[in-house]
C-alpha cells in the first residue's frame, strides 16, 4: 500500500511539471484571446489572467468590427477549410485505394509501397521552389486546386501506410466469402471491407486533416492574395506601429484549434485503437 502511493507520487512528480510545460502555451493563448490590448501589449505588465476580459479580439477576427476590417479572418478560415478538406478527400481517396491494392493484391510488389513512403523522406519545403515554378507554369498558384493537389500529395503516404495497417487486420476470407456470394471485388470492398475499417478510416482522415489544416509553409509559398489560409493569415497579423497583434492572433489560433478538436472528439472511441496505427492483432 505504501509503496503503491509512493509510486503514484513519483509518477506525479514527473507528470505534473511535464503537463505544465506542455499546456502552458495553450493556457497563455486561451487567456490572451480574451485580454484587451492594454493587457496583451508587450509594453505593459504581465497579466496571468485577463483582469478585464473582452471579446474584442474575436469580434475583430470575425469581421464584426468595421474599424478593424483588415483583421477579418473569415475568408482565410474558409480558404483553410476548403483546402484542408479537399486535400484530405484527395489523399484519402487515392490512399485508401492504394492501401487496399497493396495489402490485398500485393500491388506494386515490395518496391512501390516504400517508394510511396519515400515521398516523406524530404520535408516538403525542400521541394517547394521547384513546385512553385511548376505550379506557376500550370497556373495553379493562388488557387484552391493548387493547394489541394499539393496537400493531397504530401499527406497521401500517411493515408496509405495507416490504412495498410487497418486493412491487414481484415481477414482475406471475408472478401472471399462476399465474392462467393456473387459480389465483385469492388462490391466486396465497398460493402464488406470498408464497413469493417470505418474506425481506421475516421482516424486516418483526422490525422491527414490535421496535417493539412496546420500547414503553414506550403500555403505561404503557393498563395499570393486570394487563397490565403488561416495559419498564413495569422502570421500576417503584425504591423509596424503595433508590432505583433497578440490578442487577435490568439483569438484566431483558438478558432483554428476548433475543427480538429471537434472532429477528434466525435471519433474519440476509435482514437485509442487507431493511434496504435492498426498494429494490434486480434
Amino acid at each position: 500500500m505504501r509503496s503503491e502511493s509512493l509510486r503514484t507520487a513519483r509518477k506525479l512528480v514527473i507528470i505534473i511539471p511535464l503537463a505544465v510545460i506542455t499546456l502552458f502555451p495553450l493556457y497563455w493563448m486561451a487567456t490572451m484571446a480574451f485580454k484587451p490590448q492594454s493587457e496583451w501589449s508587450p509594453v505593459t505588465d504581465i497579466f496571468w489572467f485577463p483582469s478585464d476580459p473582452t471579446l474584442d479580439n474575436f469580434r475583430q477576427i470575425l469581421g464584426l468590427d468595421p474599424i478593424y476590417e483588415y483583421l477579418d479572418a473569415t475568408n482565410a478560415i474558409k480558404n483553410s477549410l476548403i483546402a484542408a478538406v479537399g486535400g484530405t478527400i484527395l489523399a484519402m481517396t487515392v490512399g485508401v485505394g492504394a492501401a487496399y491494392g497493396i495489402t490485398r493484391f500485393r500491388a506494386g510488389g515490395r518496391l512501390v509501397p516504400f517508394q510511396i513512403l519515400q515521398l516523406r523522406m524530404l520535408p516538403p519545403v525542400a521541394v517547394m521552389i521547384p513546385i512553385l515554378i511548376l505550379w506557376s507554369y500550370l497556373h495553379l498558384i493562388d488557387t484552391y486546386v493548387g493547394l489541394i493537389l499539393m496537400y493531397g500529395v504530401v499527406t497521401f503516404p500517411f493515408a496509405v501506410w495507416l490504412m495498410r495497417g487497418f486493412f491487414l487486420d481484415v481477414p482475406r476470407e471475408i472478401t472471399q466469402a462476399a465474392i462467393l456470394d456473387g459480389c465483385t471485388h469492388w462490391g466486396a470492398f465497398v460493402k464488406v471491407v470498408l464497413p469493417q475499417v470505418k474506425g481506421g478510416l475516421a482516424v486516418t482522415a483526422l490525422f491527414v486533416f490535421i496535417l493539412n489544416w496546420s500547414d503553414f509553409l506550403i500555403a505561404l509559398v503557393l498563395s499570393r492574395s486570394e487563397v490565403i489560409t488561416g495559419p498564413v493569415f495569422l502570421s500576417s497579423l503584425q504591423f509596424a506601429g503595433a508590432g505583433q497583434l497578440f490578442g487577435p492572433q490568439s483569438a484566431l489560433a483558438l478558432i483554428l484549434i476548433l475543427p480538429p478538436a471537434v472532429f477528434g472528439l466525435a471519433i474519440q472511441r476509435y482514437l485509442v485503437r487507431g493511434l496504435t496505427f492498426g498494429a494490434i492483432k486480434r
Partner: protein, 369 residues
C-alpha cells in the same frame, strides 16, 4: 448434385508449387476429405475449386463443364473458412440472409423463415439480432456455417471449419454436418489435418503431401492398404510401427529379413510383393509397417515373439492403453487390452500375423504390393 473432376491441376506461386498435377474424381453427393498437414496444398486446392484462385495449368470440371472462366459467384459453391469469415459489422440475421439477398432468391417472409430455420439448425436462434462481432468464437463459426449452408450450394467446401471449436462441440457439429450433407445431397469437400475427423466423416479421403496426391480412397482402404509410408504414418489414432528390414532372396523366394535387437533373425515371406529398389551396397532395404492395434503382447520366451523388449511408458486411452516398448534402437507401440496391466520395466514379447504387415520400399516410401 455436382460431380467434380480435377484434371492435372497445378498451382504455382512464383517458384513454389502449392499443388502439383492433382487429378481427382469426386462423385456427386459424396463427402470427400482432404487430409494432410498444413502447407500440403489443401486450402489452395479448395480456393481453386471455388474459383478464388486460378490454376496455373489443368482444368476443373463441375458436371463435365469446364470451370475456368466461370466466376466464383456463379459456381454455386459454398465455402466455410477456418477463420469464420463473417461480417462482424452486421447482425447474425443479416449475416445469414446475406447470400439469399445477394442472389435475390428470397425476400420478405420466405427469407425470414429460411433465416430462422437455419439459425435453429446451427444453434444461434437466440442471437439473431446481435452484432455478429459480439458472439463467442464457436457461435461465430456456426454463423459462418449457416451463412454458407442457407443458399444450399451444390458444392460445399469446408476448410477446417471446426478447428476453433472445443472438442465436445466439434464432435456434435461433425455429426450435424454429415446429417445435413446427406439430407441436401450436396457434394462436400472437407479439409482437415485431423485424421480421425477425416476417417469418421468422409466417404473418401484424399491424402495430400507437398501439393501431391498420396492416396485417394475410402477410409477403410486408406487404413488397411496405405499406398505410402506417409499415409500409413498419418492415418491411425496411434502411430504405426516401422521396423527396418532388408530384402533377400532365399530358396528363390523374396524374403524380408529383420535382425532383431536380441540377435535373432526373423524372416517374413515377401514373395507376394514386388522387390524394393536397390538401396546402396547393403542390398534392397524395406520397412515393415505394423499397426499398434495389430501387434500382440506375448510371453517373451514364446516362439511367437517377434521382438522382445522392455516397457518404457504406458499411456492410458480410456478403455485401452498404449504400451511403449523399447527393444535396442527400436521404439514400438502396441495396444493392450483393458484387462492386461503392464508396468514400466516389464519385459515382454511382441507378435503379429504375417497378413497384418505392410511392406514399404525404404528408399521411396512406397508400398510394395
Amino acid at each position: 448434385m455436382a460431380t467434380i473432376v480435377l484434371d492435372e491441376v497445378t498451382k504455382r506461386f512464383g517458384s513454389v508449387t502449392a499443388v502439383g498435377g492433382l487429378s481427382l474424381d469426386i462423385s456427386s453427393e459424396s463427402l470427400v476429405a482432404f487430409l494432410g498437414p498444413s502447407g500440403c496444398g489443401k486450402t489452395t486446392t479448395m480456393n481453386l475449386i471455388a474459383g478464388l484462385d486460378r490454376p496455373t495449368s489443368g482444368e476443373i470440371y463441375f458436371d463435365g463443364r469446364a470451370m475456368s472462366g466461370v466466376k466464383p459467384g456463379d459456381r454455386d459453391v459454398g465455402f466455410v473458412f477456418q477463420n469464420y469469415a463473417i461480417f462482424t459489422h452486421m447482425t447474425v440475421f443479416d449475416n445469414l440472409a446475406y447470400g439469399l439477398r445477394a442472389r435475390r432468391t428470397d425476400s420478405g417472409s420466405s427469407l425470414d423463415a429460411k433465416v430462422r430455420r437455419m439459425a435453429a439448425t446451427v444453434g444461434v436462434a437466440a442471437h439473431l439480432n446481435r452484432k455478429a462481432g459480439r458472439l463467442r468464437v464457436s457461435e461465430m463459426q456456426r454463423v459462418a456455417l449457416g451463412r454458407s449452408m442457407i443458399v444450399e450450394p451444390s458444392v460445399f467446401l469446408l476448410d477446417e471449419p471446426l478447428a476453433h471449436l472445443d472438442a465436445i462441440l466439434r464432435v456434435g457439429m461433425r455429426a450435424e454436418l454429415r446429417r445435413i450433407q446427406k439430407e441436401i445431397g450436396q457434394t462436400m469437400i472437407y479439409v482437415t489435418h485431423d485424421q480421425s475427423e477425416a476417417m469418421s466423416i468422409a466417404d473418401r479421403i484424399a491424402v495430400l503431401k507437398d501439393g501431391a496426391l498420396q492416396q485417394y480412397g475410402t477410409p477403410d482402404e486408406i487404413y488397411d492398404r496405405p499406398a505410402t509410408e506417409y499415409v500409413a504414418n498419418f492415418v491411425g489414432s496411434v502411430l504405426i510401427n516401422f521396423i527396418p528390414a532388408h530384402y533377400e532372396s532365399r530358396d528363390g523366394r523374396g524374403c524380408a529379413v529383420v535382425r532383431t535387437p536380441n540377435g535373432r533373425e526373423e524372416v517374413f515371406d515377401a514373395s507376394h510383393v514386388k522387390a524394393p529398389a536397390q538401396n546402396g551396397d547393403r542390398g534392397p532395404a524395406l520397412r515393415l509397417g505394423v499397426r499398434p492395434e495389430l501387434l500382440r503382447v506375448v510371453d517373451p520366451t514364446s516362439d511367437e515373439a517377434l521382438i522382445v523388449g522392455e516397457v518404457v511408458l504406458v499411456e492410458l486411452l480410456g478403455a485401452r492403453s498404449v504400451v511403449h516398448v523399447a527393444a535396442g534402437t527400436l521404439a514400438l507401440r502396441a495396444m493392450a487390452q483393458p484387462e492386461e496391466e503392464y508396468r514400466v520395466g516389464d519385459r515382454l514379447g511382441l507378435a503379429t500375423n504375417a497378413d497384418d504387415i505392410h511392406f514399404f520400399d525404404a528408399g521411396s516410401g512406397e508400398a510394395l504390393r
